[in-house]
């Protein structure tokens, strides 16, 4: 069964097209990765799925039912973990979760049980009676998740749930995503961290300018770029001028500089490593190491969009 079905979805803000005729299917039991650079249209899409924004055109179905025609059903089966925290600072962790779960009609002992369950799930049981004011960033993020899952939705959408937190909390969150998935939840996961997405997502869509430009399993995505090689050259100190000359070399597609690491994507078919190295030496750079990387999601992203995911 398809948990989420998006067809021809478009959102315009005035003249600006934020989401452009997007179609997408998420099947039951998947952890679906949603990748895109800043402003790609991820949050706009999620806002429309959660009925906060009205689409300019197109159709959204959750569990095979149209979300405008059966909005209550859609909302009951959906949990949203927003990119920015959405919790009450002056209510305790327990009251926060219990409040949001109550909005889904839970009352009495059931409400109490589900609240405790959700808090335990994110490891905040011992902080139930504390105010989020005094929480660390990671704890707030976990509470943000607990507020979205207490009503046991079939589909959970997480928009960058791990941004800016300590490694311990991040591991906790990644584990809970896996646990949620094992307990039968379908999850849509947005992140800027490629390693996370590679680790937990079974299928991935890459969004750019409001369009999905690639979709499939990690392996499928990587196999689309066998014609590209990813060369990493470590130099003592990179000169800013280097990029232009390198791009002129036949076969070179993109050049990225990160401090003293130069990353070059080039056609696999063209033998140009010697020319590249000569160019760098001519520019007076001191080469420390040269490495050809296996293609990973980042390479895929870079090749498809010409941009780094994190800028």
């Amino acid at each position: 069964m398809n948990v989420l079905d998006i067809r021809g979805l478009t959102k315009k803000f005035g003249e600006f097209v934020a989401v452009d005729n997007m179609s997408l299917t998420v099947r039951e039991g998947e952890v679906f990765g949603f990748l895109g650079a800043n402003g790609a249209g991820k949050s706009t899409t999620i806002n429309m799925v959660s009925s906060l924004l009205r689409p300019s055109s197109g159709e959204i179905r959750i569990l095979d039912r149209d979300i405008t025609k059966q909005s209550r059903f859609a909302k009951l089966n959906l949990g949203i973990v927003p990119q920015d925290l959405a919790i009450y600072e002056d209510m305790t962790a327990y009251e926060n979760v219990s409040f949001f779960a109550g909005l889904y009609g839970l009352r009495g002992t059931q409400l109490k049980e589900r609240t405790e369950e959700a808090l335990e799930f994110v490891g905040l049981c011992d902080k139930a009676k504390s105010l989020p004011k005094n929480f660390s960033g990671g704890m707030k993020r976990r509470l943000n998740i607990a507020c979205a899952i207490a009503h046991k939705p079939k589909l959970i959408i997480m928009d960058e749930p791990t941004v800016g937190i300590d490694p311990q909390s991040r591991n906790y969150i990644l584990t809970s995503v896996r646990n949620l998935n094992e307990s039968g939840c379908t999850i849509i996961y947005t992140s800027h961290y490629m390693e996370e997405v590679e680790e937990i997502c079974s299928r991935i869509a890459i969004v750019d300018h409001g369009k999905i430009i690639a979709e499939g399993t990690k392996e499928q995505l990587k196999s689309t770029i066998t014609d590209v090689k990813d060369i990493r050259i470590e130099v003592k100190s990179a000169l800013p001028a280097a990029a232009g000359a390198l791009k002129a070399i036949p076969g070179v597609r993109t050049v990225l500089q990160e401090e003293n690491m130069i990353r070059i994507h080039s056609d696999a078919a063209v033998d140009n490593l010697n020319r590249i190295l000569k160019q760098l030496l001519d520019d007076g750079m001191e080469i420390r190491s040269v490495e050809e990387q296996e293609p990973n999601l980042e390479t895929v992203f870079l090749t498809l969009t010409g941009r780094n995911l994190r800028d």
Partner: protein, 383 residues
Amino acid sequence: MWKDIWFLVTRTLRATFRKRSTIILYFGLPIAGILASLLLYGSQGTTELRVGVVNGDEGQTIAADTVRFVQGLDHVKVVNVTQQELHDQLAASDLDSGLIIDSGYSESVRSGSPDHIAIQSVKGAQVTAYMKSMLYGYIDNVAAMGRISGGNDAKFQQLYDRYRSADFKVTSESVNDTSTTKEMSYQSIGFLLMFMMTSAVSLSELILKNRENRTYFRVLSSPINARTYVLANILMNLIVMLAQIVIVLFFMRVVFRIDPGMPVAQMFGILLLFSLVSVSVSLVIVAFSKSTAMAGALSNLVVTPTCLLSGCFFPISIMPDAIRRVSDFLPQNWVLQSIEKLQSGAGFAGVWFNLSILLAFAVVFFLIATYKFGRNNDTRNFV
């Protein structure tokens, strides 16, 4: 839907009133308003004169009646003391003045030439002038009866008895008393109107606050829709207003025993109507504000000046004509006018017009707010 609304209302109220500071803000301040009006009007006309009486002419009717006369004077409080106590308490300023009646006083009045009576004071003549003039007027009257009866006991008694039954006129002064309590209750209501408006704004501001902390959008992604959410906010606001009104009227009537000079139920009704107005005004302020900071600024710009112009802080009658004309456009003034009318004896029928105007204010502001809310559709900060 009502279940959802009630859930939102109770949860929000519980979270809001957990902090002691909010309880003080919403309920302590209006009570302080009553206290302030008590001080304002309580001290104005009634600087009480504390008089110590040394009655050395005991057992005599005229001496006893004289003391009772002084007791009956407005703004005078009488305590019976000995000569020594009078001396000490005057020195310690526990008393303002002393009335000393020596034995033989009654006899001297009866014979037509009053004697054996003295007034002492430390504060100076003007304190005792009022009492002196009243008292001497009284003694002169009785002495005149003594002279007329010319030693005839039966004739004096007859004249004196008639005089005594007439002097109940003195108590008719108490009409003045309720005018003070009327002013006090009027003023308390004036303050209450302002506190109702400010608390209405800060409760409606929760809508903006929850937009800013994005919980509003989380609520909207649940089966609760925007209309239910705003209705719950309005209901919660009205509940708080109701509690404010009940508490203020209770403190005014039961704790401080101020007689408003009109039925409390009528006052309650008018204030309830005003709670609709203040909630609708607060919704307009919130609908036109992009942030809580802006709503706070708007509220400062709207609430305090309009309360000032409509006579919430001091009677409008002392203001120039132009301002009084402006106040016709302010709902607070219509409340205060209604209360004034009812206090001066007009029946409920006499304020129908005022009440319809208030209702019209509420309806118009609700409509404006609804219209504006419908056009704000900014969900930008979520997800």
